[in-house]
């Protein structure tokens, strides 16, 4: 970090340069950006509001891609079992998936970073206690823990987000603690402590900036994980409620008719899900190469 | 005069790094006769280890031997095929590295690593290879070699590990051994033991030995000939007496003068002012110029080697007498 400052390059510039240097990462970043923008603009772009029951025509259900509705609208990607335009449903679904993924990723980042900093700064028993907890969390697969939480505590959008946060904070905590330990070992921290500078100030002003590189990398990858995890949970029926369909739910609905040959209801949302997760992962991988090659993700 | 075992002329090994071309070895000439010990002395960064690696083709990319002739037993190693070079390594030319903990594979037994070295070059059974390995271990002074051969590297002390490394080097009774700072990582007492051991074995087996070190004292005790390396070039070479008693290059004199033994007790230690140039920032002409008290304008051009008998130096202003040396 200091090295970057000395060469006059901000981290942002370094990231940008790193991504642009790899054609693969650049393409992935562009895809990411496009999808995020599309999701944000869903209400504007989508030809149909899939939540508006008045617009959906049940008679238009199960139409293959390219079919036309009576009102002259083209169902580019076909319709689902309820008669909803797949394209619109997918856009809104992407929106939901992204929202949940980003929210849980962000919350996990905050929780994990705080705990990681505390562990590193306080050391001793607190550190041991927190890290034991982290090891425990990391010893269980995401899906299983999320599943158990949702079974015990019930379902709902916020419960899903909380379950994901509960699983993911450990990655952040571990990485931040590692980076912070490097800093706390340095003399200036000791000096600052002696001078009576408040701990929060030391943490925020000095230690935290050094934790940014691993945070950025892990944050990116965990967002991809969260999106995929939510999709899986929704597919299994214990994720988001059907009032807020994410891509996972769309695919689950499509599964029922897959064997009958109605492929578009599962293939397209799946491709979209794959696109967002894949591109985020590629960007995350590239970030790791640029910022922190030896990082444990 | 018998043909030299090893004759290196104009060796250049350069590393193509993103920041520029690092000329680690930039025109090195060496000669070694059978049964002779040559000390290659230089500070870190002088390129002495890379020289050692270059001889047997162990330079990793982005490094490459770009020029020079490496004549071993009459054959130019630079033109040898990879397979040919590989068959020489470990058989006719062996190498000993600095840190035996890092150079022995920690997850394999000593025996496994020795036996595979034997069988890489000779078509013998495992039992025969094992017997040979046990014998080699005994020769370097490892107690109870038949048991210890099944041990793992971490079960040996540092000095013992280095003996194992020496034993591996001696497995096929090579003609040439290149030892890269083999005693640097050991304590002084062990160091002298190993030195004595090596001297004895070298004399017994009549092998040629290149001993790479930064420690002039060690080389003085061990070698018959010495080559002083600075910034990728040999600045002085000759017999140990010639170089130590009548050094011609100011750097050599500085090295000799800065050893604690050469200093008067109670006086501040003498140092060579300044520090070695970084590999990418070498001055034009003589690399020692910025630190040399005798430097003039001509030193901005490349000094060629002056050879007087076996004693050679690269300097426009070689030191002439003993008085000059002591300043």
């Amino acid at each position: 970090m200091m090295g970057a400052l000395l060469t006059g390059e901000t981290m942002f510039a370094r990231i940008l340069r790193g991504i642009l240097a790899s054609p693969k990462a650049t393409a992935a970043a562009l895809v990411c950006l496009t999808l995020v923008v599309a999701a944000l603009l869903a209400p504007v772009i989508a030809p149909q509001d899939p939540y508006d029951l008045g617009v959906i025509d049940f008679f238009d259900s199960r139409l293959p891609p390219g079919s036309e509705s009576l009102s002259g609208m083209t169902y580019w990607l076909g319709t689902d079992t309820q008669g909803r335009d797949m394209f619109s449903a997918m856009l809104y679904g992407l929106r939901t998936s992204l929202a949940v993924g980003l929210t849980s990723g962000l919350l996990a980042l905050v929780v994990g970073t705080t705990l990681g900093l505390i562990a590193a700064y306080m050391g001793g028993r607190m550190d041991a206690f927190i890290m034991r907890f982290v090891d425990l969390m990391l010893g269980f697969p995401t899906i299983l823990v999320a599943l158990m939480i949702l079974v015990v505590f019930g379902q709902g959008t916020w419960k899903v987000i909380l379950a994901l946060v509960f699983v993911q904070w450990a990655y952040f905590a571990r990485a931040v603690r590692g980076a912070a330990l490097v800093e706390t070992g340095k003399d200036y921290v000791e000096a600052a402590r002696c001078l009576g500078l408040s701990s929060t100030r030391i943490l925020a002003a000095h230690i935290l900036p050094n934790c940014l590189p691993p945070l950025i990398v892990i944050g990116t990858i965990q967002v991809a994980n969260a999106i995929a995890a939510e999709a899986t949970l929704s597919f299994l029926g214990i994720g988001l409620p059907i009032t807020e369909p994410s891509l996972g739910l769309l695919i689950a609905n499509g599964y029922q008719v897959l064997l009958a040959g109605l492929y578009w209801m599962s293939v397209y949302p799946g491709l979209l899900l794959l696109a967002i997760v894949f591109s985020v992962n590629i960007v995350g991988d590239r970030l790791r190469e640029v910022l922190n090659p030896r990082l444990e993700t | 005069m018998t043909a030299p075992l090893l004759k290196v002329q104009g060796l250049k090994t350069w590393f193509d790094t993103p920041r520029g071309m690092v000329k680690s070895v930039d025109g090195v000439d060496l000669e070694l006769r059978r049964g002779e010990i040559l000390g290659l002395v230089g500070e870190s960064g002088s390129g002495k280890s890379v020289t050692g690696f270059s001889l047997i083709g162990l330079v990793d990319p982005p490094g490459r031997v770009v020029d020079g002739r490496i004549e071993f037993n009459g054959e130019d190693l630079r033109t040898a095929s990879p397979a040919g070079l590989r068959s020489l390594r470990g058989d006719r030319i062996a190498m000993i590295f600095q840190d035996p903990m890092m150079t022995l594979n920690p997850v394999l037994r000593i025996g496994t690593q020795m036996i595979e070295t034997v069988r890489a070059h000779r078509n013998v059974s495992r039992a025969e290879a094992r017997a040979k390995a046990v014998e080699a271990l005994g020769k370097v002074g490892i107690p109870r070699p038949a048991e210890r051969i099944d041990a793992y590297p971490h079960e040996f002390s540092g000095g013992m590990r280095q003996r194992v490394a020496i034993a591996i080097a001696l497995l096929h009774e090579p003609d040439l051994i290149i030892a890269d700072e083999p005693t640097t990582a050991l304590d002084v007492t062990i160091q002298s033991q190993i030195l004595a051991e090596v001297q004895k074995l070298a004399a017994e087996m009549g092998l040629g030995l290149i001993w790479i070190s930064h420690d002039l004292g060690v080389v003085a005790a061990l070698a018959q000939r010495v080559a002083v390396m600075y910034a990728g070039r040999i600045v002085e070479r000759g017999t140990i007496d010639e170089v130590l008693d009548t050094p011609r290059h100011p750097y050599t004199a500085g090295l000799i003068g800065s050893t604690p033994m050469a200093n008067v007790r109670g006086q501040p230690l003498r140092q060579i002012p300044g520090s070695a140039p970084p590999p990418l920032g070498r001055p034009e002409g003589c690399p020692f110029r910025p630190r040399c008290a005798h430097a003039t304008d001509i030193c901005r051009t490349e000094p060629q080697e002056t050879l007087a008998g076996g004693h050679g130096w690269r300097c426009f202003h070689p030191l002439q007498d003993a008085a000059e040396v002591r300043t």
Binding site: K24, M131, V134, L138, G139, P141, I143, L144, V151, V152, F153, Y171, R174, I221, N225, A228, A229, A231, T232, F235, L236, G237, I238, G248, I251, Y255, L258, L259, S266, V267, G270, L274, V277, F278, N281, I282, E296, T297 | I56, L58, R86, S87, L88, G90, D91, A94, M95, F97, M102, T103, L104, P106, V107, L108, E116, T117, A120, H121, Y152, E155
Partner: protein
């Protein structure tokens, strides 16, 4: 890395403990094992408390443990046996003691003890996960070695990008695509269920019959895919980090062939961390079996849990959670022991 929790160096947290303990001497190892056992018990207890609270405190235990159509008399009977009038801690004790004897209540759907139902289905899941694990090693290790020895080349790039794709592919969707391609369109392989089983070495397995194998291929592939990606990455990283090490250079200096260096020296060195990660990943496979079994209607424990959740067969759900947690703890523990055994540096001191 995705849901597979890039566990590349996750082990460091635990294994630094192993190393430290082991290097403290033989007694250190025993102390370490004991400490881990105690930790395991604590985790189990904590989980049981959470589950207990979820079932008994937050929900209405009668609701949960009785099927919807229970009569008032049955309700009263169960209420009495569960001691529902007693204070909560006492109820927990009842819960815990019956759990320890294996009594988790009776499954609503199957009308048999929940634990029995679970254990009946466990072999099918194990068959699936073990097959997937073996597949991932058989395919992943060679590809990882291949990519690792050619850093920066097209092979390396494509293998690595392929591996990212491998774990980006949503597990369930990929399974569905497999079904679509191989069952619906090509009609080569069956899409649901477990095939005929026979006995090999006294174990009932699908490998005994062609039908069994045919039914096993798609679900095993589905489960293995993300795992293959993980193994590839681990292996490749391992090779790339090991190749520049001094002992490789020394091996070359001794005249060993590149083949021997790769397949003996490098491979054995990277095998230790890979094996330990895979060991933990085995648990992950069991988790993902939930998805695979749902898609392919594979009669294992994973499908059971989803069905049970949907059918509100809570005794089975409760039993499943505790059994799985126990399994995980055992797996993690065994992996730690395995690691200390494999690494001669640690083993020698234990």
């Amino acid at each position: 890395m995705s849901l597979r929790n890039g566990k590349v160096n996750k082990q460091n947290g635990i294994h630094s403990g192993v190393g430290a303990a082991a290097s403290a001497g033989g007694r250190g190892m025993t102390v370490f094992i004991l400490r881990r056992l105690i930790q395991a018990v604590i985790v189990l207890l904590v989980t049981s408390v959470i589950v207990f609270l979820g079932v008994y405190a937050i929900g209405d235990p009668l609701e949960i443990l009785l099927p919807g159509d229970a009569t008032a008399a049955e309700r009263a009977q169960v209420a009495a046996s569960l001691n529902l009038d007693a204070p909560l801690p006492l109820q927990y004790v009842t819960f815990l003691t019956s759990a320890l004897t294996g009594d988790f209540g009776s499954s609503f759907v199957f009308n048999r003890p929940a634990l029995t139902v679970i254990f009946e289905r466990l072999p099918a899941t194990l068959e699936l996960t073990i097959t997937a694990l073996v597949l991932s090693l058989v395919i992943g290790l060679p590809l990882g070695l291949w990519a690792g020895t050619r850093p920066g080349t097209l092979v390396d790039e494509s293998v690595m990008t392929g591996s990212i794709l491998g774990f980006s592919l949503p597990n369930f969707w990929q399974g569905m695509m497999l079904v679509m391609i191989f069952s619906v369109w090509l009609g080569w392989l069956p899409s649901t269920g477990r095939g005929e089983t026979g006995t090999i070495l006294g174990i009932r397995t699908s490998f005994a019959t062609w039908d069994g194998v045919a039914h096993l291929i798609l679900p095993a592939t589905n489960l293995a895919l993300a795992q293959i990606a993980l193994v590839i990455r681990l292996t490749r990283t391992g090779v790339q980090e090991t190749m520049p090490l001094d002992f490789v250079k020394f091996a070359r200096a001794r005249g060993l062939s590149e083949r021997r260096i790769l397949f003996v020296h490098v491979f054995k060195t990277i095998l230790i961390p890979i094996v330990t990660v895979i060991g933990v990943e085995f648990g992950s496979l069991i988790a993902f079996a939930v998805v695979t079994e749902t898609i392919f209607a594979w009669p294992g424990v994973g499908k059971l849990i989803i069905d049970s959740i949907n059918a509100l067969d809570r005794p089975v759900v409760v039993a499943y959670i505790l059994v799985i947690v126990a399994m995980f703890i055992v797996i993690n523990f065994l992996v730690d022991v395995l690691y200390s055994l494999l690494d001669p540096r640690i083993r020698g001191r234990a």
